[in-house]
């Protein structure tokens, strides 16, 4: 197999030494089947062991290896080097997040949001396991299944200028996950989650840029989840206004 040379420009930021990030360029020999993550691994193993980045599964499942590649949020394990043939590939840490080191961003804010929306099935009263599972039809599953494919890679946050301007915004993935549970027929936590997704920095902060759904590597449509949550909230508000006692 022939070997081409890829030129990769990677953001370096070593907080103990650097006052701000800078680019470092590397030349990486590559084969047709190599992705940007392979190039980063090559750099770390063969050229510069100090390069720091996150990765795990290298097959688009774990959601660890997100970066801005040529300005676009992508999984480095799903971006083939040959797609950039003949030009320098710029790899930067995911936009909108604080940078800890090189390509590693601080995920703390997203983790807090994830917990905040309570991503588990809430029951008013749990039934004992002996009584069997909570059953669901195929149609009921279909209502939320695409939103359960989220791998928490945070690319949608890197693509969202609203989040870039206001990090308090609940954001795409957390709302998509909240909607996934709101639409789950087995869940009874609507009243718990509604105030969270409808607070000031919740869904109403979204002004429909739509890029979150474009960059999602798993085909989830967070923009759709956010708009559907808006509709649910608005209908609920009208219902409780018209029927204060039994609106919901």
């Amino acid at each position: 197999m022939s070997q081409d040379i890829a030129t990769i420009r990677v953001t370096r930021y070593r907080p103990e030494k650097d006052s701000k990030p800078y680019f470092q360029e590397y030349k990486v020999p590559y084969r047709q089947d190599m992705v940007v993550l392979d190039a980063l691994n090559y750099i770390k193993a063969e050229i510069d062991g100090s390069l720091t980045y996150r990765w795990s599964c290298r097959m688009g499942v774990c959601g660890s290896c997100g970066a801005n590649i040529d300005g676009e949020p992508k999984l480095t394990c799903a971006s083939f080097l040959h797609d950039f043939k003949g030009r320098t590939i710029t790899v930067e840490p995911m936009a909108n997040f604080p940078v800890i080191k090189d390509l590693v961003v601080d995920m703390e804010d997203f983790m807090e949001k994830l917990v905040k929306i309570k991503p588990w099935i809430i029951r008013e009263k749990e039934t004992p396991p002996e009584q069997g599972e909570y059953k669901q039809s195929a149609q009921e599953l279909e209502r939320y299944s695409q939103f359960s494919s989220c791998i928490n890679c945070m690319l949608c946050y890197a693509a969202c200028p609203i989040y870039g301007l206001n990090e308090k915004f609940l954001g795409p993935a957390a709302t998509a996950l909240a909607y996934r549970y709101i639409e789950d027929s087995r869940d009874e936590g609507k009243d718990v989650r509604f105030p969270i997704v409808h607070e000031m920095e919740g869904v109403w902060e979204c002004t429909l840029v739509g890029e979150c759904s474009v960059v999602c590597p798993k085909g989830v449509d967070p923009m759709l989840a956010i708009q559907k949550t808006k509709i649910l909230g608005a209908t609920n508000a009208i219902k409780s206004l018209l029927m204060p006692r039994g609106g919901r």
Binding site: P15, G71, V99, P161, E211, Q227
Partner: protein, 131 residues
């Protein structure tokens, strides 16, 4: 997440030119900016209706025939159509209608709503101008 406070994190600010990064951002920004035209057109129309309410229909029609208003309305029409197309498409994506086992596609909502827009617009023109 461990002790990250020992060294400073690098915080980046969104560049004022963020929307030039790709086509989707630019299209979004065009929609945001052109909302101004939609708003101004609404004000013009409300003012026109107030002329009719306080005077006569001729006042209202003469006001709308002003070349500056006609020019502005034509520009606003282009932008309003951009808003209509994007919003109608989105409407179809957010609230598909179930027919039997299948769901309507966003483009079907777009076409149906555009037809409705033409019909409603014609009715409005008929009521306000032609009648």
């Amino acid at each position: 997440m461990g002790d990250t406070s020992r060294y400073p994190e690098h915080r980046r600010k969104l560049s004022p030119r963020w929307w030039t990064a790709n086509r989707h951002y630019a299209m979004y920004m065009v929609r945001e900016w052109t909302s101004l035209f939609v708003a101004v057109y609404s004000l013009i129309f409300i003012y026109g209706l107030s002329l009719w309410a306080t005077g006569s229909r001729a006042n209202f029609l003469n006001f709308l025939k002003n070349p500056a208003i006609v020019g502005f309305s034509l520009v606003a029409l282009v932008f309003i159509m951009y808003h209509a197309v994007t919003w109608f498409y989105l409407l179809g994506a957010i609230s598909p209608i179930k027919i039997g086992r299948s769901k309507t596609k966003p483009w079907q909502a777009l076409v149906l709503n555009l037809i409705l827009l033409v019909v409603v617009s014609y009715l409005a023109i008929w009521l306000l101008v032609l009648r």
